[in-house]
Subunit: 348 residues, 2 copies
DNA sequence: TTTAGCACTCAAAGAGTTAGAGTGCTAAAT
DNA sequence: ATTTAGCACTCTAACTCTTTGAGTGCTAAA
């Protein structure tokens, strides 16, 4: 495995990414940085195929990269094109500044990625692990009907309506509000557990049995809180990718199962996962490129794209890297309190 | 246009729905309930073609129904197969009972329809036209940070966080809460307008300029409220329908524009619309079958399917009818006030 | 009015051909 | 010991030609 072979592998991957067609020896030999004949390249390509980096769709066709080929290319071979100052300032413009609310920052990043890469953008909105409950409210809204509201330090707002057996009088409501305020305020989202709520149900029932639905409601809300929020935007772009199976894409759009976990288990730095290699998001021939951003010194979420395996890694990876860095920088502002911007809940 | 011709038309449509192939005179003549020769049928078919109910893909092929052919079949000719008791209880099982939350009921209905018909299911979640604002709250949650909460009589809960320039003191908060309570409580969702909020901004600003973000927030929430909630599930099924143009299906999945309006303008009872005939959802050769369900005596939403024009109307229509009836029944409980069940809002 | 018979039409499927891109191998050149 | 030119070979994609058979419309008899 000499350096010329690696160079040829890189060239094949580059060409394949550029054209989408299997790449032949002749095409490679014509490239500027390759100075050997087609025959030599043919020999090397045969060797690369032997090693499992390339494959042929059929005998008389050119070569395309295998998974390992892509992997090697991404890890070692490609040389990412550094962002020009214009590109950087374009991204800066799309992203927003220090005063842009965090959620919007993430949304903007997603929009920028969709726009620039023409792929679907994936963002996770803050890993909730580090946030604490900052407010709990119980609001009477109708006959035996109460809306409970849970707000966390990182800005999540969850609400839920609960119907009780009886209406609460002022004193009872007061009692309950105090009790949960006492028990939940300042508790970190990670600490919340079903056992904890079970204890609360017990304690509250001692005072008044019919309060338990409210606690159960809180318990459900807390489960929602613990779920990472994942947004995929621009997923329609994937439908116009002919190398992706439309069926699989639509299924993915409808239920983005598993992706969240997949992102959770990601390390820091740029990560590339191939759809066909994971069972969590199984769009064949697709590729997920993500990186984590930080808030202060804590991982706060990830952001990246899903596209065909044949995406322009060279170009896209620097974009994602720049965005995560910038976001990390923007989020690590002076303010330590919540920056909330926009939230909705619908229910019938 | 004698009754034999109608019988033949019905038979052609039935056969075409069953097989998906153009139907020839011979195939019809073999059917049990047809006792004339192929030649006779040929003559009648030619006549039906003349009348615009049938057409030939090409000279030497059988006949397929035209739009008018389908229309006549659906309106007059087909005889829907009544649901067996097993089918009914199967549906009941999939749907849920009196204690199933409304939102889940609708979701279940959609899931059942996708499962049974192998088509995409369309459901709208409560036509908001009839609901009124039942509660408005402003909750301080952090430094200059307030969460506003809007609850309607049909159970929608919307919330949003707003950051103000200054913190409000108790008196100011009191004033604002009273003011909006006064102005919004009991107002029907339909009446809410931007002008109305503009006036409120003006009035409130007279008291304290920096309150206006809160009013703007309310305005945004009210816009969300006015949007009908439309869900299309199982749309991947449409991609495996070869009579539908994949491209058009994909476009439809991307933006389900117009469908909402189309459903809005539907009358009561089963409605069948052909994709190619409407410009709002323009999947050629597709068919939309919907019916409205009611809550108490008000229309509360619609539910149905989108499939190829060649769907088994005979079988599917009774299913949709049964589901809407059952849902209407389940939703028209004793309670007249809100039944809210589950609601979340997430935000950072 | 209905039916049998028959000539006619046309799409779909299969067979055969061609063109071209790309390969692997061999033998000569460096 | 590599590298290269040359060449025979392979395989797909596109095209044409032929065949097949389902289905028709028309005519004349029942």
């Amino acid at each position: 495995m000499n350096s010329r072979k690696l160079k040829i592998l890189a060239a094949v991957v580059d060409e394949y990414i550029r054209t989408g067609e299997p790449v032949g020896s002749k095409a490679i030999s014509k490239l500027d940085n390759i100075n050997v004949s087609a025959a030599t390249i043919r020999n090397d390509m045969a060797a690369l195929e032997q090693l499992g980096y390339l494959e042929q769709p059929h005998t008389s066709a050119g070569r395309i990269p295998t998974f390992s080929g892509y992997r090697l290319y991404i890890d070692e071979l490609m040389n990412p094109s550094a962002l020009s100052d214009e590109e950087k300032s374009r991204l800066d413009g799309m992203l927003g500044g220090k005063d842009t609310p965090e959620e919007l920052l993430i949304q903007n990043a997603a929009a920028a990625l969709t726009e620039i890469t023409q792929c679907a953008a994936v963002v996770t909105n803050s890993v909730p692990r580090f946030s604490v409950i900052s407010k709990v409210e119980v609001i009477p809204t109708g006959k035996r009907l109460y809306v409970i509201l849970l707000i966390t330090s990182n800005g999540s707002i969850k609400n839920k309506a609960c119907r009780l057996e009886f209406d609460l009088n002022h004193e009872q409501l007061e009692f309950f509000t105090h009790y949960i305020e006492e028990n939940l305020s300042g508790v970190s989202v990670e600490e919340l557990s079903e056992e904890m709520f079970d204890k609360m149900v017990a304690a509250v029932s001692a005072y008044m049995v019919s309060l338990s639905p409210l606690v159960m409601g809180l318990c459900e809300l807390s489960e929602d809180l613990r779920q990472q929020e994942l947004t995929v935007s621009g997923s329609e772009k994937l439908l116009s990718c002919d190398e992706l199976d439309k069926m699989e894409v639509v299924k993915f759009i409808e239920h983005k199962n598993g992706l969240s976990d997949l992102l959770e288990e990601t390390f820091s730095g740029i990560q590339v996962k191939f759809g066909s290699e994971t069972n969590s998001f199984a769009i064949g021939n697709s590729s997920l490129i993500v990186s984590k951003y930080r808030k202060g010194n804590k991982e706060a979420g990830s952001l990246g794209i899903i596209g065909p395996m044949r995406v322009d890694y060279k170009k896209i990876i620097p974009y994602i890297e720049y965005l995560t860095q910038k976001i990390s920088y923007l989020m690590s502002g002076d303010d330590e309190d919540i920056i909330i911007t926009d939230t909705n809940a619908e229910n019938d």
